[in-house]
Amino acid sequence: MPSNRLFTLLVPVVSVVMGLIAGAIIMHISGFNPIDGYSALWTGAFGDAYTIGETIRRSAPYILTGLSIAFAFRTGLFNIGAEGQVLVGWLAAVWVGLTIDAPMYIHLPLAILAAAVAGGLWAFVPGILKAKLGVHEVIVTIMMNYIALFTTNEIIRKVLTSGQTTTDTIAGSASLASEWMQSITFYSRVHYGILIALFAAAIMWFIIQRTTIGYELKSVGFNQHASRYAGMNVSKNIILSMVIAGMFAGLAGAMEGLGTYGNMSVTAGFSNLGFDGIAVALLGANTAIGVVFAAFLFGALKEGAGEMPTGAGIPTELVDIIIALIIFFVASSYIIRWVIVRFKKEGK
């Protein structure tokens, strides 16, 4: 058996490579040149300063939703509700950005805080239902996603505007936009959010690895009964884990609301930030550092996909297929493990 450390590194790398190979095969079958396709993808993600800026912008919320899912997962919880938490965080951030009049050093932190609190509250519901009544968090969070979708749409239409589908742009004092960062990237939409995302990753690492809270959360994730026997409050830890996870996802909403768009629109479907966050967390092996790398990979894939139709005539959805396949490969790591063990045996 290869050592676990090597293995946790090997599974994601093998999965990504297999995903990209599968993508190449699909391109080949549908009559495209895979080399053209991937070089268009590369140009779209890293071709010039502008696209690099956009790639960074796209990665910031992925880092946060990835952290959200990874954090909950450490306590044995599956936060499939990041999608809804993003929406309520986005709404809260824009709401504060629109209605409050304050200098930047108060307004911006307040808007960001509002997003985190809203996300946390939204995740509190599945947390307390899981802790007190044993209701499975997967179903509750999925239902909460739809409740968030319809409720935020309604609030945008009825409360923040009078019947419009898009809110006004937030006050400049609540904006994450960075003229300095934009000027070095040919005026891409890159914003200070990436710093918040990286800081959040550092916080997750610190909580999980360096505090008693993190120790308890992990312990509950490994074995609830043992943790209870050791005197830990399992319910409290489950709720806390969900709330912190929700706060990360809420911050991802703030990235979009205060950084990229500066407003919020009525939508028919989800932003998919939360669902892609599952892929990010899975690929990042639920560690803070892994999530950051995985988020940049998916950010680059998604951003680069935009260049594929013009550069090589390939529909952008190819990247969605590749990402879905990567998830399958990571999730089926049992089989990768099995194959590697098999080869080791034969080698001896």
């Binding site: 549908s30 599956f78 499939i80 519901v125 239902l129 009544l133 209701v135 499975h136 997967v138 179903i139 509750v140 999925i142 239902m143 909460m144 996603n145 739809y146 409740i147 979708l149 319809f150 409720t151 749409n153 309604e154 009825k158 028919a268 479907g269 669902f275 599952i278 892929a279 899975l282 529909p315 959805e317 190819l318 990247v319 969605d320 297929i321 990402i323 879905a324 396949l325 998830i327 399958f328 990571v330 999730a331 089926s332 790591s333 049992y334 089989i335």
Partner: protein, 317 residues
Amino acid sequence: MIEILQSVIPTALFYSAPLILTALGGVFSERSGVVNIGLEGLMVMGAFLGIVFNLTFSDVLGAWTPWISILVAMVVSAIFSIIHAVASVSFHASQVVSGVAINMLALGIGVYLTKQWYGKGQTDMVDQPFYTTNIPLLSDIPVLGSIFFQGIYITSYLAIILAFVAWFVLYKTPFGLRLRAVGEHPMAADTNGINVSRMRYIAVILSGALGGLGGSVFALTIASNFSHSTIVGQGFMALAAVIFGKWHPLGAMGAALFFGFAQSLSVIGSSIPLLQDVPQVFLLIAPYVLTILALAGFIGRADAPRANGEPYIKGSR
């Protein structure tokens, strides 16, 4: 009053049919112990196939096109769902993760091929969708006939009949008993000589077939074309119906009918005096709120099959 019923009930049946079919798929899968978050993706697959087949063959097949379209969608979605079965049964992958991947994959493939084949993000409208009909004899019954059997889609009744078939299969046949046993206590079932993996494969493939059927019925009655936004959340609503219906085929049907009713009210509620003042948003979120309440035990306890979501690994305790 009768006029209101005449407008509400056919619309409710119309919106329920895809939900009932997909929810039945969910019941089969989850009863065998495989969580199926991928219902949404299976519906996407069904909708895509139903529309593409209909567009391609409507000249040749004429009036039979929609029926053959849903059959094809059913078969191909069943094959597509094998991916979920392989990952979650044979490879012991997390069933939730695999389901999420199914959703992404189905939408990716659907839109990718739409762009590849039609050169744009959405297909044309189909020429041969399902049309409403009056059911012979039954529609002549006074009062009831005009509410339940006039201007109705036959697919709605197909869905309701299939729900009873599913109930019969699950509760009155040896096959159904085995399927439920595998979902409650796979080790005991294995000891009794039931092939756990095979039962779970069959259940997942059935859910693929029914999900594909549900998706294609949705596409050919409600949407009439395919794009990335054809199926948004209907699969998850079907999943909600499975749970709200307590994993029972008839319960799931009842829940799906109720959700369809809520949807129809949100569509035509503005023409009903009593509901005019109820904001639409409450009707939209009702299915999801009710599901959470049902799970929390406020509306009778909903308990999942015991082994739901756990891969069965021979020899482990």
